[in-house]
């Protein structure tokens, strides 16, 4: 028995080995400054703030690529009769005799969707702000596992490399749409894009899912386990609630996408028939029998619908925070905001088949999904009214972040209203394959989430880089983008209602649609101008990192914990002990208070003039 017991030195040696990457809260080793090499500090960093910046900059690069692709296919849609010989130095063999290759047009649309939804608005948005804000706003030294967090970025990087490489292969990138419905995506002989491009797409997405899961479990664990003293769930900033629920959605839905992708890989490369049945290509019957392509759609949209909330909820959280800060008012209905986030999260899992009304599903089942879908209007409306009520009679400061947040609310309303239209099966069946759907989701999810992303960058840039972004360039960026987005997507509603079909390479063969030639030109011009306006932002962003006006610790007079850190927080975030939290995060313009904001870490004993009767007991 005694022989089994470890010796003293071994116990110490064993106990001294800490689990890799677990954030520690002992104060002892935080004031020590240990030199890190460039590689450790900027490349293979386990610091959540560096990882956040890595996600942000990779996301910006992807956004430029995704935007370029959309400009290319908007050229084709706006000027279908023109020749694009001038693009051939750039696109090479995809320009044939001055015409854009139709197969490549499909690839452009597919890659635009994939890049924007997954690489920019999922990884770029959640990856940046969940990483940056969760530890800073809940009062933690770092993520629960810095090592896993680092892996999360590098899986994303690897996935990015594979997806980027697929743009340059001979048969072109995946071209079956970002939803990769089989049989089109499953059969290499169907279109060139379903060959190697689709294989790389699937490999890249598998890596991406691993990255999302590694990041997601970290976010959830950190929020649950590492909150500072006094930071109860009912004192969390709404940003954290949003990131937390977003991570839960990802944890539950991405594995299902993985399941579907794996079956698709088996169908493509191993000869199974999960999704394939009774197919003839070029007069040849394929041997596959017994598969169900609709099954893929069910599996895909079980991820796909929560995915749109994974995209929008972080933006909602950040906008709530920025609106309250810059209206100098508490967020209206804090608990209702949390409740509506919970409601949206729950409902997001039981509405997926509203993407499939045109698959010939049983109309009764369609009615059930229609009913559940329309219920989402309730929590969404709660949020919208609360944002408006927060602005109402506020002492509004029009910072750039505030403009983008108000823009977010505007776009979310404009896009959300058409969601009520499309949620009805009877109307959706009519409009499903028109530009009305394109206009709807680009406003409510694409542009809104982008506005949330920009608002977040402008608002937290001082904490990220210790400098301010330029306000005037910010205004230029905002107005060009805001007007651009509406000028692109409002006309799309109109052509959509008129029946103009989406996914078409050219509509010139149909006389019916020739009357929309001018509008299409208009949309394309607006889209391309709005795209170029983004370079104002990109210049502002990179210029301000190095040359921006120096920031103070708390430039927006905000209440949350990240603003109690030094101008540029170092490793471990707070040089001393982590502040404890005494109050909710929205004490703005409290009657009787000395200043118009009271940070979360100020105890009630120091604010006796403004305490409410029930708060007096906590002095």
């Amino acid at each position: 028995m005694a022989a089994n017991l470890p010796t003293q030195s071994q116990v110490q040696g064993g106990a001294g080995v800490t689990e890799p990457g677990i954030a520690h809260d002992e104060h002892a080793h935080h004031d020590e400054h240990h030199e890190q090499s460039f590689l450790q500090k900027y490349i293979f960093s386990t610091d959540h703030k560096v990882i956040a910046k890595q996600f942000l900059i990779t996301g910006i690069l992807w956004a430029i690529i995704g935007g370029t692709l959309s400009s290319l296919f908007r050229l084709q849609l706006g000027w279908p009769e023109s020749t694009f010989e001038w693009l051939s130095p750039f696109l090479g063999k995809w320009i044939e005799a001055g015409k854009l290759n139709p197969e490549f047009y499909l690839a452009l649309v597919t890659m635009h969707g994939t890049i924007m939804v997954f690489f920019v608005l999922t990884a770029g948005l959640s990856g940046t702000f969940s990483n940056f804000l969760i530890p800073l706003q809940i009062g933690a030294r770092d993520m629960a596992s810095g090592f896993m967090n680092m892996l999360s970025y590098w899986f994303f990087f690897l996935s990015s490399v594979v997806m980027f490489a697929s743009l340059f292969i001979e048969t072109g990138p995946a071209a079956a749409g970002w939803t990769i419905y089989p049989p089109l995506s499953a059969l290499p002989q169907a279109i060139p894009g379903s060959g190697a491009g689709q294989t790389l797409w699937l490999v890249s997405m598998a890596l991406f899912i691993v990255s999302q899961l590694l990041g997601g479990v970290n976010y959830i664990t950190t929020v649950i386990n590492l909150r500072t003293q006094g930071m109860s769930m009912s004192k969390l900033p709404l940003t954290i609630w949003a990131f937390f629920l977003t991570a839960i959605l990802g944890l539950l839905s991405f594995p299902v996408l993985f399941s579907a992708a794996l079956l698709l890989i088996f169908d493509r490369s191993f000869g199974t028939s999960f999704f394939l049945s009774d197919i003839y290509i070029a007069g040849q019957a394929l041997p596959n029998t017994g598969g169900s392509p609709i099954l893929f759609q069910h599996l895909f949209w079980f991820l796909g619908h929560p995915e749109v909330y994974i995209v929008i909820m972080p933006a909602m959280g950040m906008v709530s925070e920025i609106l309250a800060t810059n209206a100098r008012k508490p967020i209206f209905g804090y608990r209702a905001m949390i409740g509506s986030l919970l409601g949206i999260s729950l409902l997001s899992f039981i509405v997926w088949a509203h993407h499939m009304f045109v698959t010939g599903m049983n109309p009764f089942l369609g009615s059930v999904f229609m009913f559940l879908t329309l219920i989402i209007a309730v929590p969404s409306a709660v949020k919208t009214f609360n944002w408006l009520a927060t602005l109402w009679r506020g002492n509004i400061r029009f910072t750039t972040a505030m403009l983008f947040s108000i823009g977010f609310v505007s776009l979310f309303i404009a896009g959300g209203l058409t969601g009520i239209v499309l949620g009805n099966a009877a109307l959706d069946i009519q409009m499903h394959n028109t530009y009305f759907v394109v206009a709807h989701f680009h406003l409510v999810m694409g542009s809104s989430a982008f506005f949330g992303l920009w608002a977040g960058v402008y608002h937290w840039f001082p904490k990220m880089f210790g400098r301010m972004m330029d306000e005037k360039l910010g205004y230029v960026h905002f107005w060009l983008t805001f007007l651009g987005v509406y000028l692109v997507f409002l006309p799309m509603h109109y052509v959509g209602i008129a029946g103009f079909p989406r996914r078409y390479y050219a509509w010139t063969g149909f006389d019916t649609f020739s009357q929309f030639a001018d509008l299409n030109k208009f949309i394309s011009a607006a889209a391309i101008i709005a795209f170029f306006a983004q370079f104002v932002f990109i210049f502002n962003f990179f210029y301000s990192i190095f040359r921006g006006r120096r920031a103070t610790e708390n430039p927006w007079n905000s209440t949350t914990l990240e603003w109690t850190t030094p101008v540029v927080p170092g490793h471990g975030n707070w040089p001393g002990a982590i502040p404890a939290v005494h109050r909710w995060p929205y004490d703005y313009s409290k009657p009787g208070a000395a200043e118009d904001f009271i940070p979360q870490h100020v105890p009630y004993s120091q604010t006796q003039s403004s305490n409410l009767p029930y708060e007096k007991e906590m002095e």
């Binding site: 594995p255 999960f274 041997p287 982590i578």
Partner: protein
């Protein structure tokens, strides 16, 4: 008040070690994969053109082997609590061997299924067979990750890093291994009821 004056007596809110929490979350996401496959199985089966066949009897044997390995991993945990380090090592080795035996058994079942002309892919394959291979194959993949985890903890036990005051890793591997066993039990019962 300067932030550094604030108290910092923070404890993890749940009393669960963050790494264990991470493990639980990962188990949830693994379950979602199988929830997707088993619901896809039911949906697909109800569409007809579904080849019915008997599950090989041997699956019962592999199930019992995996159940036995759950017992032995629990034995390792109890032994670690009592600082019986030799027993910990023995029990972990037994668990690893039983886990490997389970995988070999599953492989045998695949061979037997092919003998019955139940194929994963190809012109003679029916989705009912393909699904069986996917369910067992994806489970086997996760069992391999469990075996790797067992070997890591076994190595730690030889370095005296597993004992009554360091129960985190052995606790985690015990939870994960029981989970893989329960997952297999779910899949086996599911296949028995729905094949």
């Amino acid at each position: 008040m300067h932030p550094s004056e604030a108290l910092n007596t923070k404890q993890p809110a749940t009393g669960i070690h963050p790494l264990r929490f991470v493990l639980v979350l990962m188990m949830v996401s693994i379950f979602m994969i199988f929830a997707a496959y088993t619901s896809a199985y039911i949906v697909r089966r109800n569409e007809g053109n579904w080849l019915e066949f008997d599950l090989p009897f041997g699956f019962l044997v592999t199930t019992l082997i995996l159940a036995a390995s759950s017992v032995s991993v629990q034995w390792a945990w109890f032994a670690a609590r009592k600082d019986e380090l030799n027993q910990v090592r023995t029990a972990l080795i037994v668990t690893t061997v039983l886990g490997t035996a389970f995988l070999v058994g599953q492989w045998q079942m695949w061979a037997q299924l092919v003998g019955q002309r139940i194929f994963f892919a190809g012109t003679d394959a029916n989705p009912s067979g393909s699904f069986l291979y996917v369910l067992t194959g994806v489970h086997a993949f996760h069992l391999i990750t469990g075996l790797i985890f067992l070997l890591i903890v076994l190595r730690k036990s030889f370095n005296y890093q597993v004992h009554s005051r360091q129960m985190l890793s052995i606790g985690n591997v015990t939870i994960y291994w029981h989970y893989l066993g329960a997952l297999w039990l779910y899949l086996y019962l599911f296949l028995l009821l729905n094949h």
